[in-house]
Symmetry: D2
Subunit: 427 residues, 4 copies
């Protein structure tokens, strides 16, 4: 028997904590909520190798629960479909071979309908499992479920970033949703927040969930510095463009200069000039460029070049983490505001949300870093080369997914994520 | 006013011939019939640059009527959607820029539903037009509608060839239809049909419809020769494989040798060896290889190498056309048999249908060839380089679409179409 | 003992014919004469995959004698170097594996000096062989030597075509020779030569040497037609350019249109516009464009598009062969004139030499064509797909290498050879 | 007048310091000494985009003196050749456009002879300049000459690394020199050198020359750790291979895993298995693999995977710099030993020389880093993304070119340089 007994027929485990289940239900629902505005036709798009089709995301996060939770606790668990381990594995080599990433857009089957059925099945099995495990296993279960939910939240971010890119290559420029509201248009001067150097601590502390890459907490040596309290705006970036920023090699990393010339980059990814006016493709369709909103979809190369042009630099990861840590609440323009686009900074500053902040810190393990055991160890550690750290979350990040110690990472050339520029400088 | 008055309110034209309309309705219905077994998810697949998504085919053939018929007769005709001329133009440069072919799989919008609405709209407009044009315009209309219907039939073939390839790249190997019947399994010895050489005539004759590339009818000089009365079978081709045919450079055109080694071709496209047994992916799913069925999905290079190995050659176009012309009826395993796969040859021979026969004739204009005027002139002539002629139709060709003088053409490396090998030799 | 006894110690064979040796010496000398103006540095260039380094040509033609002559007659012949069969084999799969063509430019060793030593060695062995074989073998020897010499002459053409391209990619635009004289600048109106259609004969006849692809002589059916008695000039082609010829899709084969847009072709290969004036890179360096000289380095696509623009067509192979056959002498601007560039047409016409004439005939075997046996069979037959026939020789062809039945072949996109446009039309 | 008066006719500058000239002469001579064993044919090879032809190196380092020294002090200096700024500029965008790097192998002109003449000319002008500048300019001159000489020394390293790769792609596997001696074959157990953590200082200190990227000297926070006193040997690396190291994804960075599978890496770059025995291509030709020599031509990915397999890690830059700084002398197997290959470690340890040590430190600017002004600012800073730091010099590094603070950098995938593995671990 490969599936668990139904919840009705079982005493629930002593360790059972309803909060885990209710969080499970809530997070899982958000993924489907995100996909609600899509036509079935939209579910299969893969515009570039970096993006995945929405239906693949929906299935992959379910496969994660099957593989790292259900099969872990029930050795007799029979996967929903024998081939799903092949087609919905993303990069976990320890659990077998996988379908090549660039071909995810070729998977018309399973259909969207079948994938929703798959989700239903996994959800039902997960409910039974949570009711069924005994108290000795509960901590392990809670950890694995929490990891799976954080994993799904990461894919919720990606779903929206990918949907945006996938739709953007269509000459019809369809909006993901045409009912999005725009953020208020306020002007906000930059204020600089200072910090004295010396030995500080960074990295995850406390009992709450964190990914392995946020640990161990450790000492860092910092210099006196200050950070801008908001992100660079479209208007400010326009001045860089108008000054010929994309034509001055001295502003660019050599690899970036090669890239922007090979690809012909002369402005941010989703900008287009229509009869002399800049317009921007957003999840709400094409809009006039709002000069006061943060400039978004920056590659590291563009962020770094802009900072050099303006005589500043990007923040270090530690500098930014400490500043985030100091905020009283994890508050900002996240997924829940419903803008799905970066908003103009509030007078009190712009720290969490809106756009992932590029740092000048290469993504590497902290001193003493140890990956998780087994397949879960493939989650973070193996990406610790060639990428840069980003901090703070963005306008498509679920608000309960982020924290000061959170380490996101992208390649310097990536610009389809929601990424922006915060300036820093030494004192 | 961009659309025609509805048929109810108009006297029908004097020239009006109901047969044109009924043929229109019949041909248009077949395209949709072909797509019936598809999930919406399948409509958007483009597995290789040569194939197109089914939804693109459905829209493109409708765009053809809008552009070359509706807009031609009604200068005030307003296209259904202003961007469709861009996204559903295939290669008609004279009517404007077009969406790049390799990106057809990225068009999630218009949705499948919208494309069916588009078809409804075009059909209604076409009905009105046929009722409305006056007698002077009737011949022009009839020609253009007939061209459009022949065009749509060509895409019906392509729809099935493309669907097959598009689904075949899915690791789940889904069947297009699981209810297909297989053809009878008879053994049929080859009989050779001879013809004396000398000056003969070829090319389209008579009043019936033909494409411009089948004209003018002209004289050709031929040699004494004979043709096999059926196609080469899987069993016969297996002997070539088992003899190391794919490893002997002397059998191959130089370009073919390079190709099969770069691509690692060692057997026909859809074959796969499962535990030592050959199996074949078909529109009905994976089946055991039937040794008596014609070997299919041959590139020209494979067909030519096989013929060399067996000490024969491929037929010339003229040789094959004359033999086809001699058959009493255009009869064979076409789309209507419902096999959607080549069938074993009947004792009386196998001439039309089953598989397009590669010839050793390069596709070029006949002496005195003149393309049609205007956009219709882009139909055939501009492809007259680098391709080879094929004759006879195949198991997914509508039976009323083919004739002896019909000239199909593919690149020597193409093997996703339904193509096979017929042998010939000089006497 | 792997080498032949020296000529001094041997009676020469009865069959010995001094003319073969003297022709051998003469042809071999020309290859080295062609390379005389090169710096050692120039010998190793391979600018595109189609061209080969001069040193590779020099060695390859010698390897041909080692492999198809010396080793054939002396089973104990020990090759000069055990690895040369690998690195100097061009495409003869029947004699073993070979170094990849795109990597020929990587062979700094053997050095130029060593390659000349290799040539000396092969020459000495060939002399001994010619003195040594007995009369029964003489005919076979004479055939193979003649084949080898014709092969070397083909590479002499290629040497000059390749040197031109190899040097042209250098920003210094070095001249191959700075002492070349230019042809006279005469104006010559076109005269059209007519021929009545009907059944004619073409293909090689008689005892003289020909390649296998020129045989068998056979009948062809032709139509009434006429040919221009000279090639299209730069001035005439400029009118095509100025009329937007490169921007009109209706003039181009579809594959050509794709190519010229991908590659950005807007004028012939070696043209460059310098301050509004057209200049042309030649083997004599950069020169002002001479409007009366034939336009050269045409791809088939350009030749075909030009002919369509001017309302004519390219000649068929048979049409051109018969016209060449009618000329009293094989006379024209060949290698020996020393121009190394096409010359202005003489009033009496321009048939042989100057530029290879593109025909509209796909390169294929003549009816009944049989390749030579063994490795020599790899010479021609396997290239009979995807290429077009060219006739008449060019300004870098040795004059005793060409004849009416000679069939050259290039891909439609090739434009680094000396190729030009002759017009034809039906009557 | 574009050149300086000859040294004979001038009083030498007051500031004139003969040691600068004699160092200039000595360094310049080494570049030519390195090229002495080359045939002219070898000077133009560019086997991969990362390597440059030896003749290009010889000219480029001279162009550096022309551009950053001669033209700087004499505004009327006329470059030796007007096009050399285009063809011998490597990446200095501030001084103009440049020939594309992948095409350096196409420059047969200027010839090797002309490039030696160019060197003679630059040397003569440099001598005159050093005799001519007045005392106010002397410091600037001395700095720029020293920078140019250090630049040339870097290219001396590259010359030998590039020559090795360029020759290695030749199937003849020619030796660069056949008279190289091999290092002694001693066995040396690893000893671990410990260091207590805390705040330390790193970066260049003192008056001596350093590159801008070695400054400013700054504090770093370190942990208790220890470093192996010698490099990993071939024997040790073989155990990794034999244990399936190249087949275990868990050992590899994700980007490395993708790379080794795409490229089929299963052993170090220059290793080849000949009849079951490992042999290695060296600058002295193919040799039996010496198990006690350091494993060389490691990519970062391989070094990192090996360290993970053995349960250690790579050193941080600071850890290694401090250890190097502690050595009494900069002593080791450098260019001057004449091995041109890594040597077996001596009992007292192996710190400088032999092989560049990969660190786990991403190449970035030190806190407060400021690039040099003008074109010299393009020397280092713009490469500070995507690369890793290496320390210590190697067997082709001139011994007076290296120091503890020296920062070399390569991409994680690079393996044509002389790179090796040193292990580290936390205490």
């Amino acid at each position: 028997m490969s599936t668990l007994p139904s919840t009705e027929t079982l005493d629930t485990s002593e360790a059972y904590d309803e909060r885990l289940l209710s969080r499970y239900e809530a997070v899982r629902a958000v993924s489907e909520l995100i996909c609600e505005p899509l036509a079935i036709d939209d579910y299969q798009l893969q515009s570039i190798v970096e993006t995945s089709p929405p239906k693949w995301h929906l299935a992959h996060v379910s496969w994660f629960f099957e593989t790292l939770v259900l099969s872990h606790f029930r050795k007799d668990y029979r996967p929903y479909h024998p081939d799903f381990n092949y087609i919905f594995n993303s990069y976990y080599y320890t659990v077998g071979e996988m379908h090549p990433r660039p071909k995810r857009g070729m998977l018309s089957r399973p259909t969207v309908e079948e994938i929703y059925n798959y989700r239903r099945h996994v959800d039902e099995q997960m409910r039974r499992l949570m009711a069924w495990v005994d108290s000795e296993q509960w901590d392990d279960l809670a950890f694995r479920v929490t990891l799976g939910l954080n994993h799904e939240q990461q894919h919720q971010e990606l779903l929206l970033m990918d949907i945006k890119h996938n739709l953007s290559v269509n000459p019809l420029l369809p909006a993901y949703r045409s009912d999005l509201t725009e953020s208020p248009v306020l002007v906000s001067p930059v204020r600089w927040e200072e910090r004295a150097g010396g030995v500080h601590e960074m990295g995850h502390a406390g009992d709450g969930f964190s990914f392995d890459n946020e640990t161990p907490r450790h000492q860092v040596l910092m210099r006196d510095h200050r950070l801008a309290n908001r992100l660079v705006t479209n208007q400010e970036y326009l001045e860089f463009i108008d000054d010929g920023g994309y034509q001055q090699p001295a502003l660019w990393m050599a690899d970036g200069w090669t890239l922007i010339n090979q690809q012909g980059w002369r402005h941010p990814l989703y900008w287009r000039s229509v009869e002399g006016e800049w317009r921007e493709y957003t999840l709400g369709g094409v809009r006039d460029l709002n000069p006061n909103q943060p400039v978004c979809h920056m590659s590291f190369y563009e962020a770094d070049a802009y900072a050099r042009w303006v005589g500043k630099r990007l923040p270090g990861e530690a500098e930014l983490e400490l500043m985030l840590d100091e905020q009283k609440t994890v508050d900002g323009n996240f997924f829940e505001t419903g803008y799905l686009h970066p908003a103009t900074a509030l007078p009190e500053g712009q720290w969490y949300g809106d756009l992932w902040n590029w740092t000048n810190t290469s993504y590497a393990g902290y001193p003493g870093f140890k990956p998780l055991k087994g397949a879960m160890g493939e989650y973070n550690g193996k990406f610790m080369s060639n990428q840069m750290v980003l901090k703070g979350g963005c306008c498509v990040t679920p608000s309960d997914h982020i924290r000061a110690s959170y380490r996101n990472f992208y390649y310097p050339h990536d610009r389809w994520p929601f990424t922006g520029i915060r300036l820093a400088e030494d004192l």
